[in-house]
Amino acid sequence: MWRREVALSTVTFGILFLVQEAFVNQIHLPLGGFSLILLAALIWSSISEPEIAGVTGFVAGLFMDLSPSTDGPFGQWTLVLVISCFFISYLGYGDDALNSNPAGLILMTSTAVIATLVFYILIGVLFGLTLGTPLNVIRSLFGFGLWSALIAPLVVPVISRAHAIVYSGGR
């Protein structure tokens, strides 16, 4: 079942992981920044079936957990992304008003980024994650959402193209 697809998507997220660690993490952006893998995983999932989205979330979450700068326990991002990717796919699948419309896709992805981070924070609180003041958390969430909305228009065409190559052989 989707052996080739999973392998290719793993390679894709592996490349994104290297880009994230080597370049994106080095740039000091105001109000936080963005996660290329998180953004790509949510875009990928929003145009995929829920089962594929779940696997995509698992693979992307594993890469995010591998990052040395991750503060939670290993597997936290995996758990969060499996559920988030599944739900964004489940909620958006077949909804042509959102998926086929680039603006809708960007809006949905940016909202999903914030929702995923809120979910990550809630799970993190259960594991004893230190978050700082509520103001800082709100500011970071706003920054992540803003940067995701700004970057998403650049990422959506690339991820959509990669998704098409992986799942339909580029047709």
Binding site: E21, L29, E51, D65, F74, D95
Partner: protein, 314 residues
């Protein structure tokens, strides 16, 4: 397109993925070294990649934050410049105070050994560009008990004599002034003479006794005056740098360098009253002990193997 209903296969897959994630979390929280080792291994492997990324990104990595904080950055630079200027000023003042404290301690040590009653004073001004006399202005005057014709010393020895007194300041005639004269005694043979200033940090000694012999590095101390005015006895004055060996001259003359550096006076002490006893040579500074230089002697014993062997010719 219809929304997928989520069949059994899809649900099972989702549950398996969630359980796998929870298993990973459990293993990590229980401290299984394999899981943490994977992250450490990835961190180690990523280090060179991050280094390359940092090199590529470094020209513009702070561009966005600098752009947003441009006004704040300028303000920070201005604040830092002001702070830097203040710190430099404080440092200069601290160094100045440290130097003055050192001089004051030395002067008090000298006065303390002789049991003199002194008043310490800071040098406010040194000489004048439109005056030919060598004087300093100190910040103590008649209110502190300073009177004309009192001896002025520092940690090294004689500085001069109080010339003019004001309520809160005084003018001191330095020993280097050409008009300055003091009766001195050669510590080695107790010969007495008159030392005159020469307009620099040196003076000329004229011995009253022509038969006495002067030598280089002979030390001079003040002879003292009646009622210790203007000079108290026993103050180190200077040492002879060059003794005249002329036998035809009426009196013996020698060049003397003052102990006190009269060009770098920060704090001085005015001797208000001296003890009954004469300190004699007790105040003469000890000669510096030269640092022994280690010598290495190498004995070489010639051996047969060390002898040069003839080279082979082709």
């Amino acid at each position: 397109m219809a929304r997928p209903s989520g069949g059994n296969r899809g649900r099972l897959l989702l549950v398996m993925l969630i359980v796998s994630s929870l298993l990973l979390i459990t293993l990590d929280l229980r401290g299984v070294s394999v899981v943490s080792g994977i992250r450490n291994g990835v961190g180690t492997a990523l280090a060179p990649v991050e280094k390359v990324g940092n090199w590529v990104v470094s020209p513009f990595k702070n561009f966005f934050s600098d752009l947003i904080h441009l006004g704040r950055t300028r303000s920070t630079i201005n604040n830092l410049r002001e702070e830097n200027a203040k710190l430099r000023s404080d440092l200069i003042h601290a160094q100045n105070a440290q130097g003055q404290a050192k001089q004051l301690k030395a002067a008090l040590d000298l006065a303390g050994r002789a049991s003199w009653k002194t008043v310490s004073a800071k040098v406010l001004a040194q000489g004048s560009t439109i005056s030919f006399t060598h004087t300093i202005t100190i910040d103590q005057g008649s209110r502190a008990g300073v009177k004309p014709n009192l001896t002025v010393i520092n940690g090294s020895g004689l500085v001069g004599v109080v010339k003019t007194v004001f309520p809160n300041s005084s003018i001191v005639l330095l020993a280097s002034d050409p008009s300055f004269k003091i009766g001195v005694r050669v510590a080695r043979n107790q010969s007495i003479g008159i030392l005159s200033g020469q307009g620099s940090n040196s003076g000329v000694l004229e011995l009253l006794d022509n038969t006495a012999q002067l030598k280089k590095n002979d030390i001079l101390v003040s002879r003292g005056s009646a009622n210790n005015i203007p000079f108290v006895p026993g103050v180190p004055v200077g040492r002879i740098t060059k003794a005249s060996d002329s036998t035809n001259s009426v009196s013996q003359v020698a060049d003397v360098v003052f102990y006190a550096n009269l060009n770098a006076l920060g704090v001085v002490s005015v001797v208000l009253s001296a003890s009954e006893s004469n300190p004699g040579n007790a105040l003469i500074p000890k000669a510096p002990v030269p640092t022994p230089i280690p010598t290495v002697t190498i004995y070489a014993t010639p051996t047969d193997s060390a002898s040069p062997s003839p080279s082979k010719s082709k």
